[in-house]
Symmetry: C2
Subunit: 333 residues, 2 copies
Amino acid sequence: MGSTLAMVGATGAVGRELIAVLEEREFPVDELRLLASPRSAGTEIPFRGEALRVEVLSEERLAGCDTVFFSAGGDTSLEWAPRAVAAGAVVIDNSSAFRYEDYVPLVVPEVNPEAALKHQGIIANPNCTTILLVVALGPLHAIAGLVQVTVATYQAASGAGAQAMEELRSQAAAILAGEEPQVSCFPQPIGFNLFPHIDRFLPEEDFATKEEMKVVWESRKIFGLPNLQAISTCVRVPTFRAHSEAVFCSFERELSVADARAALKAAPGVRVVDDPLAGRYPTPREAEGIDDVLVGRIRPDPTRDRGLSLFLSGDQLRKGAALNAVQIAELLQ
Amino acid sequence: MGSTLAMVGATGAVGRELIAVLEEREFPVDELRLLASPRSAGTEIPFRGEALRVEVLSEERLAGCDTVFFSAGGDTSLEWAPRAVAAGAVVIDNSSAFRYEDYVPLVVPEVNPEAALKHQGIIANPNCTTILLVVALGPLHAIAGLVQVTVATYQAASGAGAQAMEELRSQAAAILAGEEPQVSCFPQPIGFNLFPHIDRFLPEEDFATKEEMKVVWESRKIFGLPNLQAISTCVRVPTFRAHSEAVFCSFERELSVADARAALKAAPGVRVVDDPLAGRYPTPREAEGIDDVLVGRIRPDPTRDRGLSLFLSGDQLRKGAALNAVQIAELLQ
């Protein structure tokens, strides 16, 4: 069965990756409508050998759609997603606008696919850092029961959009040339630098960033563990499009490294890269452009009961955003 | 009182920083002998307006020295440090060769200065990551009693030496030009990449890296807490010369964020940079070239009893190596 799809935010980093993923996975599409702000309208983007012209987002262009992907930021989703639903579409929203609403499923297909079927028109795609984390922890939680998780992240420029990736490039070039880096997308220079500041600071959460709380809130919702003990420190680093995470966690039941590795090897969406003596462990460079989350450095965490530590890398634009959204759409077919 | 100093490994990244720190701090020096391998001999390095010529390391040149700084790697220290001691010098060793010997004090002057006075000829300068960590945790341990610490690091290229910094530069330039990065010092490309692999993997320590175990072993020794629960994941990132660390820790006694901040503000060697709403938190860019360890993002860690989280950045070559070594020498004066 083919379908009519629309994509709001088609010219952004995630939008372009969505188009690539739809092509690669041969998602059944009769018509694909690329929608964006008036500023981006008129841009041509290739899809299955055709040049599709980006149109201005409007109620008319949402009418008749089966599925609408939103990746144009929270404000656009808040304003337009309900209209798309009212026009009969299912919305798969990449923003955080609806993620914490009880009536909106938050879905990572490898972990909680059943949740997608309970939607009331909107399904939320989780935050990229959360997706990568729960893909790795899901198989371990399934056999041992997750109790606590501590995460420090290494997040790529792509998480802040296509312009941010360009800013990393131009700042690095400036610094190599002995010039001052020009800051525009980011709160700090990112070229040869890093900073623990992604999304805004929340005074009501002890000045954690919203990104850090997304990891906590969303992991709880996806796993159905409202009391999961979780903390994260989220750090932007000068890589282009793959995030990494140093993870320390503990479980209800004993979980040996061998059992953890076996569960991860058998899990969908995970590639175990864990042969340190051969120089094999996850890196963003190896994770760029691929679908799987790379998991390695699996070892005991002796500082806590039934503790385990691991390191992961995953493409922020693919599994962290576009691929997960398309997988959700596939669940609905 | 002036003295005769020698520096073994004078042409390396740490050696050059040592010379700069001796100048800046007006360390009393009658004679400074710069020693290195035959390959580097003949190089001229300025010190207090004079061009000092690097000489080949030999027993003759160690004779008559009061203090000898070693920063030429573990093998050189193992071979030559005992000879320097036999010749009457006190050795301050920047390698890990003697750090874990009971008879060798491991000293961070802000934390355990008294240990320096108990030396038997060799005093070890801790690993850079450990130094930065204990400078930040020392004042908190003093008032609340450290129980557990989890660290994920963001370590600069300088930790692998001067050539490694150049390799980061040349790889970044290659990638910006669309070329393949050439790898020589590092186990993986570092330009726009990162990897959890610093020093070698230790099969007997569940495949932790030696760097990761240094943080554990050395923190225990410096704090005099042989049972301290500690784990670290050490990651090389594409910054030039400042390390950062995401730290999660817990204490024996209650420690409010306000009390932690007050203790850190009063502590030597620490600069509290913690006003997130004003965009103020530690970054490697701000830490480069300065003496203090920047500490910020101080907040509760609700996942553990009496838990606290913080983020720090510190210059790896200064407080992480050269400055700490000179401060040790100052303790002995």
